[in-house]
């Protein structure tokens, strides 16, 4: 297997990882820090992608579309938080599962209603289209590099926000004891709405970027959502650092597994079965990874909750 292929795949893995991170970071805020299981996070990803695609197509500018997509996701996130999620913080996880499952149904069908059942296609902006030649000599798509760079920035910003600022402390405090933080003078309800909207905006951003790369369709958020859950569980729920490392681990494992395993099985099987077994094993790989991590460290790689 040539080195250039390994490098390119490693970059692909990184890009997948970063995309997952954008989803996972929002989830880890909502799930880990605010203590809410939000199955509908994938819907916000979808909203971001659809609005970006739609606005880009009508206005003719990807960048305006992207801005609109992110803002729409944030706005929808804020709306959902105020209308539904807010009532669920005090409930147990089961009610949250049911309510956000219902939100998935509503969002999927609503999106279908507004935008139709067919996928929308979004073009990569001219500025980021085409490929650049990497130092090693092989070309690589600019857009994927841009995604990697953007993810790194978001990761840094979030990490600083959560671990270094009072805002971050207050959010975490709110999870530990929501009533108490209020009694000490913090308007936790508004704060949570903002955090939720921020998580939604990040999901929308991820959706728009991936949408431009792949396609924009109803249900696009669900596979990513599950992977994002895997990511934050591996990383340690509530830890932004954990989300980043978990995301990259999952992205690279998945991408590398997807080419290495089929070719490994290809050595002693026919192509069709090798792909089937290899790629399915590759998809199992990340879950194996997760089970392994949890079996050894039941709180993930970077546990934040050292509860008594």
């Amino acid at each position: 297997m040539p080195l250039s292929l390994i490098i390119e795949q490693a970059l692909n893995g990184l890009q997948l990882g970063v995309t997952l991170f954008l989803m996972a970071s929002g989830l880890t805020l909502v799930f880990g820090v605010m203590g809410l299981i939000n199955l509908a996070h994938g819907s916000l990803y979808m909203v971001g992608a659809f609005v970006t695609a739609w606005v880009s197509a009508s206005v003719g500018s990807f960048w305006i579309g992207l801005g609109a997509g992110i803002m729409a996701a944030a706005a929808v996130g804020a709306l959902v938080e105020v209308a539904v999620i807010r009532r669920l913080y005090a409930r147990d996880h089961l009610d949250q599962v049911l309510a956000t499952f219902a939100l998935i149904l509503i969002f999927s069908e609503g999106t279908r209603w507004l935008f139709g059942s067919q996928p929308l296609w979004l073009d990569v902006p001219d500025l980021l289209s085409g490929a650049v030649t990497l130092p090693g000599g092989s070309p690589y798509p600019v857009f994927r590099l841009a995604i990697i760079a953007m993810g790194a920035l978001v990761a840094l910003g979030l990490y600083l926000m959560i671990s270094r600022t009072r805002l971050g402390m207050r959010i975490r405090a709110g999870e530990a004891d929501r009533e108490m933080i209020g009694a000490l003078g913090v308007d936790i309800a508004t704060l949570y709405t903002l955090v939720f909207a921020l998580g939604a905006a990040l999901a929308g951003l991820a959706g728009a970027m991936v949408g431009a790369l792949q396609s924009v369709q109803v249900g696009m958020g669900e596979p990513v959502l599950i992977l994002a859950f895997v990511v934050i569980v591996i990383g340690g729920i509530g830890s932004v650092k954990g989300a980043l490392i978990g995301a990259i681990l999952v992205g690279v494992t998945d991408t590398m597994g997807r080419i290495l395993l089929p070719s490994a099985f290809g050595l002693f099987m026919d192509a069709s079965s090798a792909t089937a077994v290899g790629s399915a094993l590759a998809s199992m790989l990340i879950y194996l990874l997760m089970a392994l991590v949890l079996a050894l460290k039941p709180q993930g790689l970077f546990p934040v909750h050292a509860r008594a």
Partner: protein, 355 residues
């Protein structure tokens, strides 16, 4: 009254196929002027279990006479055998998995489109003639994908490298990396619907510049519209082209454009032919008289948009396979008929079928 149940894909990345089959089908029904035919349509979302549930409902609750509409072979494999064994007619406007053409064929099963291998086999032959030596070939891992590569190899011989992708996959970075590293001289891919769009867009952005080939499924008008100029100049094989010169076709293309405001794809033509086949048989017999109706279907006594059309012994078409090229069109690229690849093609499985 005749009840027809249509199970097809109307949502998700495979939806434009189902939509065109449906629209082509309904256009023919409308043109027939018959009001005694009830067509019930449901979306299978390209999920086998959903398709199975819908077929149970059509058969058990609605007592349909004829089922049709399935786009994807994996769904067809889940639904068709039990339906046809139960005595209901199934007329396929698209999916043509090899088992149903061969060992598992059934007297109540007809395919109006093609057997899955056909277009790929024709492209294999074409590429061999064109002097391609080391193609990298890929298709989704499901019955039609396996058929596609089998068909290709049956005429081309061994490719440089073959890989299978996942059905419904949207990210092809890993495949493109492997293409880049493979040392192949060309790419043949079978990626229908949204898969083709994603692949072509990512391929164009990747900086890999090997020529690509494929069946018409990878280059239908919807895909071309979404990928833009990246596909210009590409050759592909099809059993039909909108610029195919015969009066039935000219009338079909014109009326389809008038009705739906777009150029039909091959899927629309298949839906249109399927409906016309059924209509032609209904002229002769009722589905309740199964033997007579079957005989009427076998006669294939209708004007196909493909010109000559006849059924082989396994109820699959005998037809010409054409070659088309992607050219710049009016605003977006389109396909242009450039020649015939194989005349009166018959699929490879008829011999295995005894009904």
């Amino acid at each position: 009254d005749t009840k027809i149940g249509m199970i097809t894909t109307l949502s998700g990345g495979g939806s434009h196929l189902g939509i065109d089959v449906r629209d082509g089908f309904m256009l023919a029904i409308a043109q027939s002027g018959r009001t005694d035919i009830e067509v019930m349509i449901e979306d299978d979302a390209r999920k086998p279990d959903v398709a199975k549930t819908i077929s149970d409902k059509f058969v058990q609750r609605d007592n349909v006479d004829i089922l049709t509409g399935i786009i994807w072979s994996n769904l067809a494999m889940a639904v068709v055998p039990s339906v046809t064994r139960g005595g209901t007619f199934y007329i396929s406007p698209n999916a043509g998995p090899s088992p149903l053409a061969g060992a598992m064929c059934n007297e109540n099963y007809f395919n109006v489109a093609w057997q899955n291998n056909d277009l790929h086999a024709a492209m294999g032959a074409y590429m061999k003639d064109a002097g391609v030596e080391k193609p990298f070939i890929l298709a989704p891992n499901y019955p039609a994908g396996t058929d596609a590569l089998t068909g290709f190899k049956s005429t081309f011989g061994e490719p440089e490298r073959e890989i299978f992708t996942q059905l419904g996959q949207t990210d092809y970075a890993a495949e493109i990396a492997q293409i880049r590293a493979s040392g192949a001289d060309s790419v043949f891919f079978f990626l229908p619907g949204g898969m083709g769009i994603s692949f072509m867009k990512q391929y164009a952005a990747s900086g890999v510049d090997l020529p690509v080939y494929g069946p018409a499924f990878s280059f239908d008008e919807v895909i071309l519209g979404a990928v833009g100029d990246a596909a210009l100049g590409v050759f592909n094989t099809s059993q039909w082209a909108y610029d195919l010169d015969n009066p039935t076709n000219a009338a079909f293309v014109e009326s389809f454009r008038a009705e739906y405001g777009r150029t039909p794809t091959l899927y629309a033509s298949q839906g249109f032919d399927t409906a016309n086949l059924i209509l032609s048989a209904l002229e002769v017999a009722e589905p309740s008289d199964a033997d007579a109706f079957r005989a009427a279907l076998e006669a294939a006594n209708f004007d196909s948009v493909r010109g000559d059309f006849a059924f082989n012994s396994n109820h699959h078409p005998v037809q010409d396979i054409l070659v088309r090229q992607v050219v710049a069109g009016d605003g977006k690229p389109t396909n242009q008929l450039v020649g015939v690849a194989v005349e009166d093609h018959r699929d490879a499985y008829a011999a295995e079928c005894n009904m």
